[in-house]
């Protein structure tokens, strides 16, 4: 191996790479701006949309209830609901979003309350439609309060305290540190995203330096120079690897920035109203990056080897698109609830790195698993690079027509 020749090829490929708009978009722009856009942008948009929907006074229709004047009067008094007159096609009106929900008061409802009989009040709404759900929720809250009042009155008549219905209270309380809570929530997402971006960062340079070179007719030019094929592959591989790493680094920086912005703008609240502070400490950032290294190595070698079989850029893209699914499936599997790192899963490439990143971000370091994952991915990466070398020796691949 001639390191000087490898360096010459690397420098040349780097010069061409930074001058290529397509690779710059996939390597720099996507990771740098995708996260702030996706996370801050979409979160802010969601907050605005939900707030707007909450402010709207939902139109509600009452079905029946002519013999329950007190309940009807209480509903009509509510400022949070707008009651519209009855129409026979109320189901269509809900589906067409003309009204948000309808409440059906059973016949003789108030009389049944007096006699202690149980009745069912039905709320009709459009499942999956946010504004309809808000309307239905408001109705349900009102009816629950109304029911509590009825219960209290009944207990008062019998001289019983309200606590008779709830002899003790139940409360869940988190004891894990906030960064672990947020790590468990976002860790899998971060690992998944770093992995996907490592791949997309490597994909375009891998195509450009192999199939792209064949398509442009420069493969024969470079093969006629005295550089050995091994040095040539190594120079090209290092560039693809650099692109993949650059994407990984930029994506980690971008994610850190996005979470910091979210933390400041208070957009990321848990259900309890407590802000989920994602504390991406230096150790976890460096650890995620170190774990991504052999994976980026593996992706670079595999993508280059596959792309080399193609005659053109387009053909290489069609070969690598199914490859995206091969990588996405284990990455997605890692974010499934209940999927946790085991010694067997630690040997499955992509899935293992995604799972270990999830643990690292939540502050858990199982060093044995980390060592096993790092070592196994390094072995896979080494095999992939060896295959890339071998493929570059094959005339039937280089001059496929």
């Amino acid at each position: 191996m001639n390191l000087n020749a490898v360096g010459i090829v690397y420098r040349k490929e780097f010069t061409e790479w930074v001058r290529d708009r397509r690779t710059l978009i996939s390597t720099v722009l996507v990771p740098l701006f995708l996260f702030p856009l996706m996370m801050v942008g979409f979160s802010a948009l969601a907050v605005v949309m939900v707030g707007k929907a909450e402010k709207e006074t939902p139109k509600i229709m009452i079905l029946g209830g002519e013999d329950s004047p007190q309940l009807i009067a209480s509903i009509k008094k509510l400022d949070s609901l707008e009651i519209v007159p009855y129409a026979a096609n109320w189901k269509d009106e809900i589906s067409n979003k003309d009204i948000r929900a309808a409440v059906e008061i059973p016949k003789g409802f108030e009389k049944s309350l007096e006699t202690g009989q149980s009745e069912t009040v039905k709320i009709y709404f459009y499942d999956g439609e946010m504004k309809s759900s808000f309307g239905a929720n408001r109705l349900e809250k009102f009816l629950k309060d109304y029911r509590d009042t009825v219960v209290k009155d009944r207990l008062a008549v019998k001289n019983l305290p309200a606590s008779v219905l709830s002899p003790f209270a139940i409360k869940q309380e988190n004891v894990a540190p906030p960064e672990k809570v947020s790590g468990a929530t976002f860790g899998s997402f971060i690992g998944y995203t770093v992995i996907i971006l490592c791949m997309t960062g490597a994909m375009y340079p891998a195509i450009d330096l192999t199939a792209g070179e064949k398509e442009r007719g420069t493969m024969e030019t470079i093969l006629s120079s005295p550089i050995s094929r091994m040095d040539l592959v190594l120079g090209k591989f290092l560039l693809v690897f650099s692109a993949s790493l650059a994407t990984a680094i930029l994506s980690v920086i971008s994610m850190g920035t996005s979470f910091a912005i979210l933390g400041h703008t208070n957009l990321m609240n848990s259900s309890g109203g407590q802000t989920l502070a994602l504390n991406l400490g230096l150790l976890s950032v460096v650890s995620v990056f170190v774990m991504a290294l052999p994976l980026a190595f593996l992706f670079s070698a595999v993508l280059m080897t596959i792309a080399l079989f193609a005659k053109s850029y387009k053909e290489a893209q069609s070969y690598l698109t199914p490859m995206t699914f091969v990588i996405v499936i284990p990455a997605v599997a890692s974010i499934m609830p209940g999927v946790e790192l085991t010694p067997k899963l630690a040997l499955i490439p992509v899935l293992n790195t995604s799972l270990v990143c999830k643990e690292i971000i939540s502050g858990t370091y199982h060093w044995n698993s980390i060592a096993l994952i790092f070592a196994s991915t390094c072995v896979y990466a080494g095999v992939a690079l060896f295959l890339a070398f071998k493929t570059f020796q094959r005339e039937s691949v280089l001059f496929r027509s």
């Binding site: 090829v9 442009r216 007719g217 550089i227």
Partner: protein, 250 residues
Amino acid sequence: MIEARGLSKRFQDNKRGEIRAVDDVSFRCEPGRIYGLLGANGAGKTTTLRILATILEPSDGTALVCGYDVVEEPEKVRANVGFLSTATALYPRLTAQELVEYFGRLNGLDETTLKKRVDEIFNRLDMNGFRDRRCDKLSTGMKQKTSIARTLVHDPPVMIFDEPTLGLDIMTARTITTFIRECRDRGKTVIFSTHIMSEVEKLCDVIGIIHDGKLLTEGTLGELRERYAEQDLEEIFVKVVGPLQAKAEA
């Protein structure tokens, strides 16, 4: 000096089975002379020249280029060869100068020698007007000059040209043929493939007619005229290849 000894190249084709692209080809090219490999499309010219440039490995036989074996020492062979064909394109995102320098460095030139060589070649080929222009912005003529500069940067003693004028306009083709003559005049060993008879007549000192992977005949133009009792090279070519072609078609 090039010496091909029983060169053969077989390819495996899924539909047609084994194809003998080059079949036991032997010839010699001397320094200061141009050897013209004349043949129709698919005759085996490109494969032969790719083997000489060590881009392909022979299935059988071998060749010596400047005393180096193409199978045993391919990198040393390439360091002594300048290879130019219509398939040897330029890197579009490099400038003409960057491209020539890149190949100079790959050929092991130090920075001082490289700078001197690049300046000398750019002056000789009148390339200074576009030395900082990216290759994808160059005209066809400029691209050809840059390709020539690439092959010349390490001053190789052997030049291999595979149909270098294919698809070029008259003026650009003329730049190439002038350059090939200059290579001979500088004492380089030149091998040149084409199917254009007039180019062979104008340029070549020795002519080899190749068909279906086999070298059917070779000699100077005078020798071929005498051997086949024809003045016109095209007629000679038809006399040599015609019977085999007719046999194959039958």
